[in-house]
């Protein structure tokens, strides 16, 4: 039984991180209609910012996490303003551009620190006697993820800017007619996605390790999560993150660890064939 308890606790913790990653991915797609293949690279940028902040500049991990969010958001803003905005109506060009950016980030990471993974300090040390013993650092990542998700949810639903972002995601034309600058909304979503992905990078780096290829797996999982939940739906992404998170952890624990990545891809294919709009569908289309 303790095996099952710890498996469930692993799945719950991991899923919260997946949700952080997937929400940013779905925001950019839902609002701007851009398939951002550099989303995983932003995780890497966030994690390496924290690594350099702690190991080179000697900051504590909390300050480093804050710096990561700033750098992650700035990275995405610069990428959007400097490149993506000029081609955002050309889906193939955007896919190539964002893919190239993710490769550039990986190569730069390899040049700066090499191919060996690095460790980040834990945000908090020790174990907490809950569910048979949980690492405090993981529990904190889980709790903070939920705080941020709740803030984001409230922000999107109850603030003027949030409502404007939502309106833009429903219809760019309609939003423009009521005076919403869609470009500004796109920029907000890129910044938000950057912030969330960078924070997820810090958590992942702190729980596992920081490495040049660390953004790949979360990006692929994001596809499954977002399609399962319904592209553009934040609620769907959270639910999707938990379904995929549980599927991953249970596959590794009870079936075979080599099937972990495959299980979520099977879900992706099934959803695409059977219910392409996902569990929550899109709120509205352009």
């Amino acid at each position: 039984m303790s095996g099952l308890t710890s498996t469930i606790s692993n799945a719950v913790m991991l899923s919260a991180l997946y949700a952080l990653v997937a929400i940013g991915f779905t925001l950019i797609f839902g609002v701007g209609g851009v398939l951002n293949l550099s989303h995983g690279a932003t995780i890497t940028v966030g994690a390496f910012t924290a690594y350099f902040a702690t190991s080179v500049f000697g900051l504590n991990i909390w300050a480093a996490a804050f710096a990561s969010m700033v750098v992650g958001a700035a990275f995405m803003i610069a990428f959007y303003l400097g490149m993506v905005q000029f081609v955002e109506d050309q889906p193939i060009t955007v896919m190539i551009l964002t893919l190239v950016m993710s490769i550039v980030v990986e190569e730069v990471a390899k040049i700066l620190v090499g191919t060996q993974p690095r460790a980040l300090p834990s945000l908090v040390d020790g174990q907490i006697a809950l569910l048979g013993g949980v690492q405090a650092n993981r529990l904190l990542a889980f709790a903070l993820s939920w705080v941020i998700i709740a803030l984001l949810f409230a922000g999107v639903n109850y603030t003027r800017t949030g409502k404007a972002i939502l309106a833009t995601s429903m219809s760019t034309k309609g939003a423009s007619l009521v005076g919403i600058e869609s470009k500004r909304m796109y920029l907000y979503t890129w910044a938000l996605a950057g912030l969330l992905a960078a924070l997820a990078g810090v958590f992942l780096g702190s729980i596992q390790t920081v490495s040049w290829a660390m953004g790949r797996e979360p990006l692929v999982l994001s596809f499954s999560i977002v399609v399962l939940g319904g592209i553009g739906s934040i609620r769907g992404s959270i639910l999707g993150a938990y379904v995929i998170g549980f599927l991953e952890v249970f596959t590794v624990s009870y079936v075979d660890s080599s099937l972990s990545g495959l299980a979520s891809l099977v879900v992706l294919v099934i959803i695409l064939l059977v219910k392409p709009e996902g569990l929550f569908g899109r709120e509205l289309t352009h």
């Binding site: 692993n10 090499g114 690095r118 980040l120 690492q135 596992q208 390790t209 660890s257 990545g261």
Partner: protein, 443 residues
Amino acid sequence: MVNEDNSRTGRETDGNESGVSSGTLSSPSRRRAFLGSVGAAAAVGLAGCMGGGGSGPSGAFKIGVLAPEPSKNPIGSSIANAAKYAATTLNENDGVLGNDVEVVVKDTHEDPATGKSKYQELTVGEEVDFTTGVFTSEVMLNLMDSIAEQSTVHMNAGSATPDTAKQVKADYEKYKYYFRSGPVNSHYLGQNMIDFADAKFSDLGWDSVAVLAEDYAWTEPVTSVLEDKLAATGVDVPISKRYASGTSDFSPIYDDIESSDADAAYVVMAHTGTSAIVQWAKQQRAFEFGGIHVPMQFPSYYGSVNGANRYAVVQNSATPNAAVTEKTMPFNEGYYDQFDSYPVYTGYHTYDAVMSYVNAATAADSRNADDVIPEIESQSFTGTAGTVSYYGQDQAYPHDLVYGQDAAWPLWFQWQEGDGSGSQTTLWPDELASGSYQKPPWV
């Protein structure tokens, strides 16, 4: 930035590389280098022109080095730098057979196809005397036919698969150009884990261990030996698991080990090792940790994982602070003086590989591979990581480095903390021990 792919080191004067500059690459050589990369057919044709000439290469004595990401990966840089250091020491002693020694490094990118094309560039384009290096077993296996076609000796320094020696066994005439100077092949790496278990587990208090191996080709012979022999040493083995190569979250696996009440995880890891050790330490798992763990062999590892490797026990060929032979420490010091860092195991083996070939070529007084091979086969000399000698044709792994107490005999160390930084404290063999085992305080 230096392009390692074309980096060369020759006789050093005034601290500059002067053996060969890019300007001395004659245009025919450039053309040959180009031809070498266009395809196997051209390569075979050119090999036919080159081979069987009887006299072997002429001019500068060239060492062709294949290394993975030599500017980014410590394994690759140790291969490249050890070959350069060997060239430096040889040139200080009048070179080889009266010729200056040059080193040409090519990057395999750990990719079999790239490795093959770079090998062709070295042998056909650069016309090197012999090649050395290669870390990834898949790259090494893909080179075996090219080595046979080029009739140029390759001294493997890094990859551990025994399948290469099996090819030598199956067709000696074709594959006799292949030798492994280190490490011992993965069958013997597994045997060494058995020997360590036999000698030290009772001292460590490990009555029960969970075997954990990453699912890569190189670990298969190791786990096969462990499955056959580990239980016979008297240790209980409740779990023997080969986990997926892409594993990044070890929590589920560690939960299983804790549930089994194993005293330690006895591991076989290279590519996934850092995630595994960092999560073990951060989660303060209730079992000890030891085995083959390639990243933990890196002398500078402690800093890069914030000391997560403290208390882990690791097998290695040689370390910066253990005098495995009388040549180990002078090598460590000379290497450090030249590169401002210490090598990982591939460095010791590459240096031994170069010296092995040079000793044989000198004894044969020839640069022709067919003259040098019998000398390599019969040689036995003290290297930096043990005595270098090779198994004969009638043995299970012909041309592989001989394993044993009087031959290549890996050491085991524990990462311990001293003065705020990590040190590799040797535990075994006893004559090299520099301290005793420390149990992780949370176990």
